[in-house]
């Protein structure tokens, strides 16, 4: 029996043959024990494979729906402004408490500084949001309740098992680029998502220039409260905010997260320790932390991350943080290239790196030069 005929038997098994072919096969089967045996074998293989159990860790399915749901909260604005009211009605009562908490988070730092009212942060409506870059409001791609297991070697790409769902390659032909897919979250989900990671933010606002690109992520996952406190103090010392600049940014940036970030009194929060004003610091660190947490697998995902770092750099008034964001953009561009080896991504990465190196205010040229230097052999 030829391979072609066996293939036809396989398709016959699935009922995928045209009637004429099917009749031919059946005629043949009537007088061919060998083919009958083969057919039975194929069927048994299917059945046996389907019977292989699928085991997940104990309790996995108890929490799975809630974890999926937690990821949907921000994207809840899948339903656009027209149905926003309906959506609001359908959120459970506890989200209102969280919304109130976030309101405090925004107001408190503002009040402390006797600065502007918190209104902009709360008035972000879905319609505004649809035109805002997703950079600032990008939700973290991490799973709630599951912590990354291992620190990563700096040069290695993150393993696939890293428990942060990254935006995988698009479902064929049907998805828009990542940044476009993410309408801004409403205030309440923002706050809820942040709860599990509360207390980490103090270490995150900026990385000392010499750190590797994965150093922060490692600290995020491994650091205990004490080291966070120390790092928060150190970073805060570097990043004394210029109040005037920050207020300017706040007025010109219509997005909740930007407003909250710009308004946060980093110095006072840092010197007081992160427990004193967690909300303010958290809001400030959110954008950085979220972007750091994003580890897409696809080139498209990394391109989106790159654009978001650039957007962040453009709105960041602190030169150290802005510089770090620009370096991160270079790194994201490199990851996009590494992900799929596309020549366009390589070109984009080199352009991004060179553009950074040409800047008069670039603080981390050696780091970026190193990225360029090791680039040829990575993908």
């Amino acid at each position: 029996v030829s391979a072609h005929e066996r293939e036809r038997l396989s398709a016959y098994l699935d009922g995928e043959l045209a009637p004429a072919e099917r009749a031919t096969v059946e005629t043949h089967l009537a007088g061919c024990p060998e083919c009958n045996a083969f057919l039975a074998e194929l069927a048994a293989v299917d059945e046996a494979a389907a019977a292989l159990p699928v085991d997940a860790p104990e309790g996995y399915f108890d929490t799975f729906p809630a974890r999926v749901r937690a990821r949907l909260q921000p994207a809840g604005s899948r339903v656009r402004a027209r149905t926003a009211a309906l959506q609001v009605r359908s959120v459970p009562a506890w989200t209102w408490a969280v919304a109130a908490a976030l309101l405090l988070a925004v107001i408190t730092p503002l009040t402390l500084r006797q600065a502007r009212p918190a209104a902009p942060a709360q008035e972000t409506r879905p319609s505004d949001v649809s035109s805002a870059p997703a950079a600032i409001v990008m939700p973290p791609r991490q799973k709630l309740g599951v912590e990354p297991a291992e620190p990563k070697a700096p040069a290695a790409p993150p393993p696939a098992s890293r428990p942060r769902p990254s935006p995988p390659a698009a479902v064929r032909g049907s998805e828009r680029p990542l940044a476009m897919q993410r309408p801004a979250p409403t205030a309440a989900p923002e706050a809820r998502r942040d709860q599990p990671t509360e207390g980490r933010f103090a270490a995150e606002p900026a990385a000392p220039p010499q750190r590797s690109e994965f150093a922060l992520a490692r600290e995020q996952t491994a650091a205990d409260a004490e080291t966070e406190g120390a790092a928060g103090g150190a970073v805060g010392g570097v990043l004394s905010p210029d109040s005037a600049n920050r207020d300017k940014v706040e007025r010109t940036a219509p997005r909740a997260a930007v407003a909250a970030e710009a308004a946060s009194p980093m110095t006072s929060a840092a010197s007081a320790g992160h427990e004193a004003t967690p909300a303010g610091l958290k809001a400030q660190a959110d954008s950085f932390r979220r972007l750091e947490a994003v580890r897409p697998r696809s080139a498209a995902g990394w391109r989106s991350v790159r654009e978001q770092w650039k957007a962040l750099a453009a709105t960041e008034t602190d030169p150290v943080r802005a510089d770090e964001a620009r370096v991160r953009a270079v790194i994201a561009a490199r990851e996009a290239w590494r992900a799929e080896g596309d020549v366009d991504d390589e070109a984009a990465f080199r352009a991004e790196a060179l553009s950074y190196l040409r800047r008069g205010d670039a603080r981390q040229k050696p780091r970026v030069e190193a990225l360029l230097g090791e680039a040829p052999r990575t993908p």
């Binding site: 066996r6 293939e7 396989s10 398709a11 098994l13 699935d14 995928e16 083969f38 039975a40 074998e41 194929l42 069927a43 048994a44 293989v45 299917d46 059945e47 046996a48 494979a49 019977a51 292989l52 159990p53 699928v54 085991d55 997940a56 860790p57 996995y60 399915f61 799975f64 729906p65 809630a66 999926v68 749901r69 990821r71 949907l72 899948r78 339903v79 149905t83 309906l86 359908s90 459970p92 790409p157 393993p159 696939a160 098992s161 890293r162 428990p163 942060r164 769902p165 990254s166 995988p168 390659a169 479902v171 064929r172 032909g173 049907s174 696809s298 590494r338 992900a339 799929e340 993908p379």
Partner: protein, 203 residues
């Protein structure tokens, strides 16, 4: 003939269209219930293709997230299960195909371990045969494996598989055949005895 129907673990309850309609309106609780019904199946598809829990978890979550985002485009009159499974299969295959996954190497075997509660054929195939089959499935190329899983486990049509994986139905047919033939070769020593016992048991 070979196929047992898909276990109705995630079966379409009478109110599935209702839940989906609610979900489309933005009702997260309704969608969560849908997730609860289909999670085993979606995770199963993912795990059988990627063969590592962490990755399967990522894929399964992402599949539901994407389904949620695309609910507007989903025809409520159609069954949700195959649709979300197709999304999961596509994500899983894309993952396995990605350069990064290749760098890491495929996790080997043991994604599926024999459970204490054997299915109908589990009673026939002994543990050794299951292990052999599991290894043979792991040894398939990712694309062959995906096609095979979608057909043998999910019982999708060639057309549906083709759509899910972005290949032609003809390619589905040939990949599926090659996968089956390879698995049959591995399982052959056990199948003879099994089919004999089976006939004795059922007739």
């Amino acid at each position: 003939m070979g196929h047992s129907a898909h276990p109705p673990q995630a079966g379409a309850g009478p109110d599935e269209p209702f839940l989906l309609a609610r979900a489309r309106q933005g009702d997260l609780a309704a969608f969560e219930e849908v997730v609860r019904r289909y999670q085993h199946r979606v995770y199963g598809v993912a795990l059988r293709i990627v063969r590592a829990h962490d990755v399967a978890d990522d894929v399964a979550q992402e599949a539901f997230v994407r389904a949620w985002r695309s609910l507007d485009r989903f025809d409520l009159g159609r069954p949700f299960g195959p649709w979300v499974c197709r999304i999961a299969a596509n994500l899983a295959v894309n993952h396995v195909r990605s350069p990064r996954a290749r760098e890491e190497g495929l996790p080997d075997g043991h994604a599926e371990t024999p459970s204490a509660d054997p299915g109908p054929l589990g009673a026939i195939l002994d543990a050794e045969a299951k292990r052999v089959l599991d290894e043979a499935v792991a040894g398939l190329g990712p694309e062959q494996r995906a096609v095979f899983v979608l057909r043998a486990v999910e019982e999708m049509s060639y057309e549906e598989i083709a759509e899910a994986l972005g290949i032609s139905p003809g390619t589905v047919m040939s990949r599926l055949f090659r996968a089956r033939e390879r698995l049959a070769r591995a399982l052959r020593p056990y199948l003879g005895a099994a089919s004999v016992r089976r006939k004795a048991g059922t007739s």
